[in-house]
């Protein structure tokens, strides 16, 4: 109990990264994630690290390309429009197989949109964003506590797979304060020593490092793609994470992630208090997506309700999971509006008939 500290989400994200051994941060201001760079600018010098404000998100992500190429732990954060600007760089980073962690504190779009919370970058995070056949391992924490643990885990995952890991948060999570207990999270994975591949070890290795994405020979490029795809299949086998609550006896199952799942939990509690059987599946990894719990829904489930702070993005993956076995409905708010506890309650009641 005494180890719990009250922290703003953005600051807690940054501190979690520092505690995971990340010493290098390159960023650019954008609301609602500004407390991350602000915190890092003060904190990183204390641990002998470097904070650098890039001239743009475009430059920032390419600084990450350079820094991650040295094999050290690096972090960058932004919010939706900034992530769009970084998408080219993210494609290059995945192609060059560099580890790094990217935090997106989502706000409403499209375009400049607004600064209030949204979840409308689901497609961007899980289906591409940049060009080419690549995937971002995407984690969607539900609480600030879980976010700190996912961020620490993200650095291990990034190094193990040599692939960027995105933490998909929203403006609520960035701005809210909760009590955090910083726990050491370490995956028991056999992480390769960066000295085997990174820049700066030519003498030790007896061989130079080449960090690149260009491959003009189509056969070579196809092989490289196949190698990346094998890696993504491994992620799909090993890195699926979700929370399932009260699904066993449910008539209706709500699917929601992040802050929306928290709101839905309050709705479900009220519905259960009224004797209505509603459960929750909360994907914690968005790529790889937990298709299985939707495919294996108990026979009693009559309907799935997807709730998002978007116009309907994750619903496509839920439908892929459900495979038409039961109807899938959607309730969403967007543009910085959040679905209320009561709205979700009503939407579920309609389905319960």
């Amino acid at each position: 109990m005494s180890n719990r500290v009250l922290m703003k989400g953005n600051e807690a994200f940054a501190e979690a990264a520092v505690q995971a051994g990340c010493k290098y941060f390159f960023g650019y201001p954008i609301t609602p994630q500004n407390e991350i760079p602000e915190y890092m600018s003060k904190r990183l010098p204390e641990v002998g690290g470097v904070y650098l404000q890039a001239e743009s998100e475009v430059a920032g992500i390419n600084m990450i390309f350079g820094a991650a190429g040295t094999g050290f732990r690096t972090l960058i954060s932004s919010s939706s429009p900034g992530i769009s600007l970084m998408s080219e760089g993210i494609s290059y980073i995945t192609a060059a197989e560099l580890p790094c962690v990217i935090i997106n504190v989502m706000r409403g779009g499209p375009g400049l949109g607004g600064i209030l919370p949204a979840q409308s970058d689901y497609f961007q995070a899980t289906k591409g964003g940049g060009h080419g056949d690549y995937r971002l391992l995407t984690l969607a924490p539900g609480t600030l506590q879980e976010a700190t643990e996912f961020i620490m885990m993200a650095f291990d995952l990034a190094e193990y797979y040599r692939n960027p890991v995105m933490i998909l948060a929203d403006g609520f999570m960035g701005q809210m304060m909760e009590a955090i207990e910083f726990k050491k999270v370490k995956l028991n994975y056999d992480i390769p020593d960066p000295k085997e591949w990174a820049i700066g070890y030519m003498a030790e290795r007896g061989k130079r490092a080449l960090i690149k994405s260009l491959s003009l020979d189509p056969e070579m490029l196809e092989k490289h793609n196949q190698k990346l795809q094998e890696k993504y299949r491994r992620m799909e086998e090993k890195e699926v994470r979700y929370e399932s609550v009260g699904v066993e006896d449910a008539d209706v199952v709500i699917a929601a992630y992040g802050t929306t799942a928290r709101i839905a939990k309050s709705s479900i509690k009220k519905l259960r208090d009224q004797g209505m059987k509603v459960g929750l599946i909360r994907p914690q990894s968005l790529y790889p997506f937990p298709y299985k719990p939707f495919n294996d829904l108990p026979d009693g489930v009559k309907h799935v309700l997807v709730v998002e702070m978007s116009c309907g993005q994750m619903i496509e993956d839920v439908k892929l999971g459900v495979q038409g076995k039961v109807p899938v409905s959607f309730y969403g708010r967007c543009g910085g509006m959040a679905p209320s506890v009561e709205e979700i309650e009503e939407a579920a009641k309609k389905l319960l008939g």
Binding site: E55, V58, N62, M63, G200, L210, K212, S213
Partner: protein, 247 residues
């Protein structure tokens, strides 16, 4: 009499033929960079960053740790590397489209931060790899595939003098413009490149050497004509010299 070797491939160059067109001056500049790296004894402690453009395959020719960056972003990549590994010597090698057009923000801000990296900037007044389009450094009246009637300042503005522009900033340590159009210039060019690397090693901040170069293929000239054209047309607009010296 024992054989005396007076000329050999620098250690910091790989043993492969380059893909460059006949008469292209990239090869000369590559060699100068490699010779300087050898002479400074930093081959195993150097990281280079290749651009997008004709020199994208630089990583095949310079035998050090190498990155290949996104178009225009080499100074950002170099920044990321150098900030984590200040013990490494980090350089970028960029053409005029990469550095002065799409990468204008990155080069200005790297220079303005006094980022302790070295930039080799190839100015041949044209886009080479994509087939001869107008560059920000294309001279007035010069014809390219995208200014077929000659560059008109009313439509396209004036050619950018990168070295002079960056020399207005406080932070950079060394900025020079050289060419490789004649052997006498090549010797000067090497001196400038060495000074630039030395500036970095001495921790004196950002260094850039702009190298006036030819593109016979896209200029539509024989290599010798191209060298002459460079001297007669580029040097008057882009004067050679040192614009900033380390303190």
């Amino acid at each position: 009499m024992a054989e005396v070797k007076i000329f050999e491939r620098p250690k910091s160059m790989t043993d492969v033929s380059t893909h460059y067109c006949p008469g292209c001056t990239h090869g000369i500049v590559h060699r100068l960079v490699a010779e300087v790296i050898d002479e400074l004894g930093i081959q195993e402690k150097t990281a280079g960053v290749a651009p997008v453009g004709c020199a994208v395959l630089l990583y095949n020719y310079i035998n050090t740790d190498m990155y290949e960056a996104a178009h225009g972003r080499a100074p950002a990549v170099a920044t990321g590397c150098k900030r984590v590994r200040p013990d490494l010597t980090v350089f970028t090698y960029q053409g005029d489209g990469d550095l002065a057009s799409i990468g204008a923000a990155e080069i200005v801000h790297a220079a303005n931060r006094g980022e302790n990296i070295t930039v080799i900037f190839i100015n041949n007044a044209i886009y080479g790899m994509t087939g001869g389009q107008m560059a920000p450094t294309t001279l007035l009246k010069q014809r390219t595939t995208t200014c077929p009637f000659g560059r008109d300042p009313k439509a396209n503005g004036y050619p950018i003098r990168v070295a002079e522009m960056l020399a207005t900033l406080e932070a950079p340590g060394y900025i020079a413009r050289v060419t490789v159009a004649r052997p006498k210039y090549v010797i000067k060019a090497k001196e400038a490149i060495k000074k630039a690397f030395q500036t970095q090693i001495d921790g004196k901040g950002f260094s850039l050497v702009e190298v006036l170069s030819t593109c016979p293929t896209n200029w539509g000239m024989r290599p010798t004509e191209a060298l002459k054209w460079l001297e007669e047309n580029m040097i008057p607009y882009y004067p050679l010299g040192e614009f900033k010296l380390p303190n």
